[in-house]
Symmetry: C2
Subunit: 326 residues, 2 copies
Amino acid sequence: MEKEYVVGIDIGGQSAKIGLVNRRGEIIARKTMDTTKYGTNDENIFMNDLCEAISAMIQGAKTREGEAITMESVNGIGIGAPNGNFKGIIEDAANLPWAKGKTIALAEYISMRMNIKKVMVDNDANNAAIGEMIYGNAKGMKDFIEITLGTGVGSGIIINGELVHGADGFAGELGHVCAVRHNGRQCNCGKTGCLEAYTSAIGVARTAREWLDIDKSIETPLRSLEIITSKDVGEAAKAGDLFSKRVLEFTGEMLGSLFADFVSFSAPEAIILFGGLAKSWDFIAEPIKRAMESNLLSYWKGKVKILPSGLPDSDAAILGASALAW
Amino acid sequence: MEKEYVVGIDIGGQSAKIGLVNRRGEIIARKTMDTTKYGTNDENIFMNDLCEAISAMIQGAKTREGEAITMESVNGIGIGAPNGNFKGIIEDAANLPWAKGKTIALAEYISMRMNIKKVMVDNDANNAAIGEMIYGNAKGMKDFIEITLGTGVGSGIIINGELVHGADGFAGELGHVCAVRHNGRQCNCGKTGCLEAYTSAIGVARTAREWLDIDKSIETPLRSLEIITSKDVGEAAKAGDLFSKRVLEFTGEMLGSLFADFVSFSAPEAIILFGGLAKSWDFIAEPIKRAMESNLLSYWKGKVKILPSGLPDSDAAILGASALAW
């Protein structure tokens, strides 16, 4: 029997989203689990409930022709989780009480319980890269870098058609390369000057706040907000606010100048942007390209594409995880 | 018949060095060709002469037991050349008159003429990385970065046991990542602030000269030299000169802080230093490690090795090229 489906699972601190995905990247069944109720010692209860939820979802699913779908037509299960590692484990995930300070052998458990060979685990950014290659804007590409711009900045690096995991599985921490070497901002990771400290959602909001504090004469609708978010910056820019546009331009320039260094490393065909900030595409794409181009070695000038993700925003995590399982 | 040998060739503007290499990395026969006599349109004459030199070398070679060696026992031919590309070509090599502004299909020519299937071409830094993996200090490693510190700074990146070539074959230009973002030194590549502008042999000499010009009170034997070279700096450091030690310390710190970014990219098991500056190991190794460690994300601290190359200095280029052909 041909394996026509994969299961994609996105595990987070609030919920686990499960989807049954076909080869075209369509989610034909889904289920959501509340993950807030699992405490420190509940890893086995959580994994048991997860398996039951997968089974229930598949039992309720139907093919286009209205026929029942069974586990036999499922090629594998792909899972995205905080601190998920390609070795099939979750390792010390601070946001998941049952996985904090522990190594959870998630793939092994699910594989045994569900009687399915292929169960893959990785982190969100790596999954987004694989998802991009299978369903998104990197179809047919063998060398590209997916940059995820969210609360933090992550990345998944594809070289010669394969994810780069490195010697320990942690490769691709491009949010923590050094963007500003002297007097750089404090980053959540403990270092200073990281790219993430400037170009994550938090970094963008921080740029806006810092600039407003420095120059009291700047007029912008953002000034009246008690807390500025990157979403506020994006929306104000769309509404024509010049200050917000300048904040996004600065953010794009910083990304672009670092992208030139990434190109020196792996010579990708494209760098693809995924996540919240990518929604401000009209304001960051040009500054990114300009800054990258002016920092590239001559033989790369004009050759490296900067693209937005082709994954649908709401289901990207499920799709990305599912892509691991083809 | 078992293929017990490979041929390694190092093509440069002054000479081409050819060696017959066994599996242990021993060069059992060698030949050197003068390359200064080949002009703009002499690519075919050069390639013809090169093939004749290879044949002559093999005809003159003997096994340990004194038996003749034939082409049948040669597994392949590996070639290192300026602007050598893994596609088997030399592309617009400024230092080779017969390859300037042209694409020379070197591998194809030699393969046909010598009637041998496996003919590989790549650049020196990539070959050094492969050589390190087969004969040197990266034996058994699947993820490491070879940094070549010479007149320029190059690199060969190994991920999952394979050289990273990228979408176009030019990956691994780590000498041209940005080390100093503002008021950086002019680099030969046209950009400013490149790692190479500070940590190549020329960069080291420049640091010494700049510092001496800024502070006339510094006492060092280097001050009396009309032209300071990095070799002078290394030798003065070995003789106890504090100023030269400080120049090398600065160089090491700059390398180390960039190495932390390289680790964020590919999470290598080791970064291996090859070339002239690696001879000043006692003065640069500690600053490199210190600067790298203080810029690493927590899970890499104390885990990434910094090693000197294990390739014998004089024959590294032949060995590296030959390693391509196993």
